[in-house]
Assembly symmetry: C2
Homo-oligomer: 413 residues x 2
């Protein structure tokens, strides 16, 4: 490791300690571009120092696609290229062009080629509004999801987006912080061919009570079943039970469940779901005393406030030696509370979350979690929805997937 001198900003970096000194990727390209209408020529130099292949491929695209912006019409609206424009240039009718574009019906090969060339030159792209008006299909799917800032929801949206895009559909993301009624109305006002409801763990029950008002085919993804519509069910129970049994096997005495809701004479509705039931069931089977901890009275409480609540609880009641959290968010908040109070994981407390967030692995110690097979679930949801759209009268479609316990150091004593 040689010693280096300081240098001014903007100068080349001489020699640095570096993990990647294998190759210098610098290349210079002369990029020639010709405007289609004006015939104007442009040349610009581009220096590529990037290993990302797509950049190099894009140089070609830039060269071939260079074109001026379309002129605007007198009324200020952008003049877009329509089927008729292409038809006029090609000397055919818009119907022929339509057939070529859709790839359906009989068109003479020569005609097809001409039309395609012109369409490309004019940079044609179909007006979806016109098509939707005629066909009644918008080629879009609404996704109703929970708060995207929850990585769990973001992940679902991402996976679904990949699915839809692959099938040539677009995604409309719906999400409201307000009344569910607004969400339902928004859904109906949104021109889509179908709806997927996902990641609304806390609201799904309420939502389902209103979903008769959604006019489009509708698929549920989640941890509750439905009697009225297609759904994908995530079965968390086996993994929850496995986690508790691991804690028992590790000799832990006081195994508690951290959830959302008010714990009173009756469990809060928020927690009368599958995870809580599984926890209570296995605790009963093991002859243990259940302990329910409310980290947050409702879902709309900030993370730091939950940390405060949990610290208060642990200070007042002492800390259990095994903690099962309703989701990874709360597991992370519990982690923070435990750290603040000086507890050690896993020596003093075992900790496990639920959702399978990748971030869990990065904490010290790495945090265990219960993971759902999200890729498969999302793929299946899209499959169900496509089938339902194609034929609204097919019988009820349902599947369930088992979640899997991911054991990391936070669960290994």
């Amino acid at each position: 490791m040689e010693s280096l001198k300081p240098f001014a900003t903007g100068t080349r970096v001489p020699r640095l300690r570096t993990a990647f000194q294998r190759c210098s990727m610098t290349e210079t390209h002369d990029l020639q571009m010709v405007g289609e209408r004006t015939g104007e020529e442009k040349t610009s130099k581009i220096i590529v120092t990037s290993p990302l292949q797509s950049l190099r491929r894009n140089l070609q695209i830039m060269a071939t696609q260079f074109k001026e912006r379309q002129p605007t019409r007198d009324d200020g609206r952008l003049k877009t290229v329509t089927l008729k424009d292409i038809a006029k240039v090609a000397g055919v009718t818009s119907m022929t062009v339509s057939r070529v574009m859709k790839g359906e019906g009989y068109v003479a090969p020569a005609t097809r080629e001409t039309v395609l060339r012109i369409a490309k030159e004019l940079n044609y792209s179909a007006n979806l509004a016109g098509r939707a008006l005629k066909t009644g299909r918008t080629g879009a799917i609404a996704i109703i999801s929970g708060d995207l800032t929850q990585p769990y929801c973001a992940n679902i949206v991402c996976l679904l987006e990949a699915q839809l895009t692959a099938s040539g559909y677009q995604m409309r993301l719906l999400h409201t912080r307000g009344e569910l009624r607004d969400l339902i109305n928004a859904t109906n006002a949104t021109a889509v061919d179908g709806v997927i409801i996902a990641g609304l763990h806390d609201l799904v029950e309420e939502f389902r009570a209103l979903d008769r008002h959604i006019m489009q085919p509708c698929i549920y993804m989640g941890i509750t079943k439905s009697s009225s519509g297609d759904y994908i069910y995530s079965n968390l129970s086996p993994a929850v039970e496995e986690a508790v049994e691991l804690m028992v096997a590790a000799g832990r005495q006081r195994i508690a469940y951290v959830g959302v809701g008010v714990v009173g004479e009756t469990l809060s509705v928020f927690d009368t779901e599958v995870r809580t039931r599984a926890y209570l069931s296995v605790m009963n089977r093991e002859g243990r005393v259940p302990e329910l901890i409310g980290a947050s009275p409702t879902y709309d409480v900030s993370g730091l406030e939950r940390v405060r609540i949990l610290k208060e609880y642990f200070q007042e009641h002492g800390c259990p030696d095994g903690l099962l959290c309703v989701n990874d968010d709360i597991a992370i908040q519990t982690y923070r509370a435990l750290m603040d109070l000086g507890y050690r994981i896993p020596q003093d407390v075992l900790l496990v979350g639920c959702d399978g967030l990748p971030i869990m692995e990065y904490f010290e110690p790495p945090l265990s979690t219960i993971a759902q097979p999200m890729e498969e679930i999302c793929a299946r949801a899209w499959q169900f929805l496509q089938a339902r759209i194609a034929n609204p009268d097919i019988p009820l479609q349902t599947t369930s997937f088992d979640a899997k316990l991911v054991v990391r150091r936070s669960l290994a004593s």
Copy 2:
């Protein structure tokens, strides 16, 4: 703390250790619903044990909104209620109904009331395709964002969604893992009134080279400026310099920068941006030797692979005593690498990330970061876009916001 007996699943929980034992929220509601066409009556009991007020409000909605699904037409398409349907019932023309719905033009109060009542009864919602076709406005905005599984992007999308929704616009989320060309094409094919480009840190330069092909008004949000279009600029330099100066003041000798890209004779394009420049500049000013560490040759490398690369680097070259990371993701990956190798933060290494992700605060020790004022940035972006849509010919709109260093324990020696 009394001792408790186990109980069977599904029974009431007798008495539990609990943080919230204040109140039992159980209420029972009889819900009466009447079908509008059939006159059929339904009653169901709902038990509310939730503190979430919206649930209670929704009971009323359910009662008033109950309605059967619309019948389907012979051709299978869902029969939707149109302006004409309402007009027929109300004994007016569709134009009158249109005026009422848009709230524009003169309509007699009595007529308006009748129309509104009927529209509500028929559960009318406007066909966006028809409106878009006529007006050329879709009421939708495309957001081109990076990978939503990056919390940074998810946050932006969330904030923008709130902005758009508040203005009565819808959001179309565009994102491709493939060629940028596809993304551009998708943008044009998507019927939207405008585009916001955000969170494409790694690709924004490439993208900008192609953005002439985007037909709609377009706003950039990011850490690079543009000469050709409206943009919001996040100025990270002052905060980066502040972080380095803090490390210097703390007596740290070897202050390195962890970024993405290949470090060779020339810095990779990925890292020839504002953060790297600010780092190099302040190191130069302080008379220090810069050290650039490539955690990942390109952006599409998995987090765990980056951890591996970083560990390899630290094992080979030893560990710097101050680390500045290009973003929070990489800061978290660096954290994991340091933990695996037994380094202590902040005793052995000071660590700071960049993005202002909330999750940073939950690590032990809490990790410092550089935060952009995202709410303001997103609000401004939407403001710019609205202005540009209203009048495409207004002069270039630009603003810049300074990022702020958030000092936590990882930066306090």
